[in-house]
């Protein structure tokens, strides 16, 4: 790893630059809401910043709810692993392995 070349996002300033571009775009898009005349089909769309807020809040709620779902849905990776296995199968697993990836 010592003499490996550095890649684009190995430099933190490049990541920062990308994030600043994103923040800039978001700010610009928010302002455009007030500039562009929109043909709205629904009264909710008339609210300033409806789409940006909905997108942001929607995603935060999505992630928080999904994280909370982990508390009762998450199980170990091999939860279903012993389905329908006999003792003999379990023995042969040790020899042939469970995950074949060259297919």
């Amino acid at each position: 790893m010592e003499n490996e070349k550095t890649y684009l996002f190995d430099k933190p300033e490049n990541v920062k630059r990308l994030l600043h571009i994103l923040y800039g775009c978001c700010g610009l898009l928010f302002v455009l809401d007030f500039v562009i005349h929109r043909h709205v089909m629904h009264s909710w769309e008339n609210l300033w910043g409806f789409y940006p807020l909905y997108g942001f809040v929607g995603c935060v709620v999505l992630v928080l709810v999904a994280t909370w779902m982990r508390t009762f849905l998450m199980r170990p990776e091999d939860y279903y692993a012993d389905e329908g296995k006999t003792e003999l199968d379990k023995k042969s697993d040790a020899q042939i392995g469970e995950q074949n990836v060259d297919a």
Binding site: C26, P52, C59, V63, R75
Partner: protein
Amino acid sequence: MWMLEIPPFLPFFIGALIAAVTRGTLRNVIMVAIPVVSAFHLWTVPEGVHLQFAFLDYQLNPYRADKLSLMFGYVFHIAAFIAIIYSLHVRDTVQQVAAMLYAGSGLGAVFAGDLLTLFVFWELLAFTSVFLIWARRTRRSYAAGMRYLIIQVLSGVILLAGALFYAAENGTLAFGYIGLEGIAGWLIFIAFGIKCAFPMAHNWLTDAYPEATVTGTVFLSAFTTKVAVYALARGYPGTELLVYIGAVMTCFPIFFAVIENDLRRVLAYSLINQVGFMVVGIGIGTALALNGAISHAFNDVIFKGLLFMSMGAVLHMTGRINGSDLGGLYKTMPKTTVLCIVGAASISAFPLFSGFVSKSMVMSAALENGFDWIWLMLLFASAGVFHHAGIKIPYFAFFAHDSGIRVSDPPNNMLLAMLIAAVLCIAIGVYPSALYSLLPYDTGYNPYDATHVLAQTQLLFFSALAFVWLNLKGMYPPELHSTNLDFDWTYRRLLPNALRKTFAVIWQADLAMRQAFLVRLNGGLAFLSQRHQGISGLLSRTYPAGSMVMWVAVILAAYLFLSFITH
């Protein structure tokens, strides 16, 4: 004009036969040539019924072409062509033959003009595709394939039952509008629903697709669910129930997708989410909504194929597919990274990418027809799909923390297949008129008005902002080695366990009853023997000889009497 009568599935079935007996370059050339030649042929086919014959009392139309079926026919050819190129390096005859038969079955199903032919291809889809799962040759894939096959065959059996009821009710097997009337309507609806991955019938998809081979999943993602979407669009347009089912389908998978570790399973969940948009469109049933549903199916085949191909490339090169094991691959797989991002942008419906020009039709139709709350759900799902398929997939595979894995881009045939799909995604996004001209209805819809573009871009950029913010705050759920319980838990754990426990109780009760009976019986026998043993007992009593003589006399008298009355 005998050429007209060659149904599109035939070249693929012949191709499968040839693929079974040829090897190497010859097989590759033939397999690539078949979808190309067949597509050119299909392009010249006019609308109409091109093949029909009588079976018993019923008229069968195995080859009916109209705008709806032709649309799916075209995209199935594109999908088959791309997936065949993607799998040219595979040296596994089982997969090559199964893939050709599977693609042919999909084509057979969308050109079926009657329910019996539809049923035949419906079952063939299941029996041919399962080999693409089993070809992984692991115990996991064998078990997942078995579950897949059972559910698919069940769907087919329900379809057959529905078709028989339909024939009895209507006196015809023709496959047209069916509607939710009578038992036939509901049975066929349920059969389509299972294949369409309706909520609670969806786990065959998330279970089996990620267990299939690298190339097999690319085929699988194209045909089965889209055949179901086609069948719903043909049989149940405007059925309001579909709007609600579809809306649920768009929303619930994204929660599972956010916490899922296997990136191909994340894509399987997002496949359900995309099919949800199509189902909503079919449920609304106006010209605009149906156009939206059909064109979204068309685009989804291509961009979902592209995403599955890019994740397949990652699995092929690294041997891993869990988000927790990957990261930093952009360094040595730059081409795959870019192609994956094109697929991600398309499924997220960025303007100028293919998802945008089709999904917006369904959304507009939902608003136009007063489905306000459904529209809000679809909007939430649009933000969510960007979150899990648009950002999560490329981010955890190619960026995120550096896993230290340094593998090169995949073989050229895989890159070429992805490139074709990516070019199509952008071409359709930039020039949607070509796609629109193939659609069944002419609605004069234009996706690129300022309002739409601005709204969609705002939604997506602020979703991205939410992702960045959650990540910086450390609130984004990390990728963990885990299994998340879904509805399949009911039939993989709950039901087997419940049955095991019930039978355990029944066996226990049965055992207890038998034992209690034996105890009683022994007790009774002991009591009797106790009572009648010894000098005074029943069996050891002494009788005088005179009583025996008397009984002999009684028996003789009875004989005498009987001989009298028989004469």
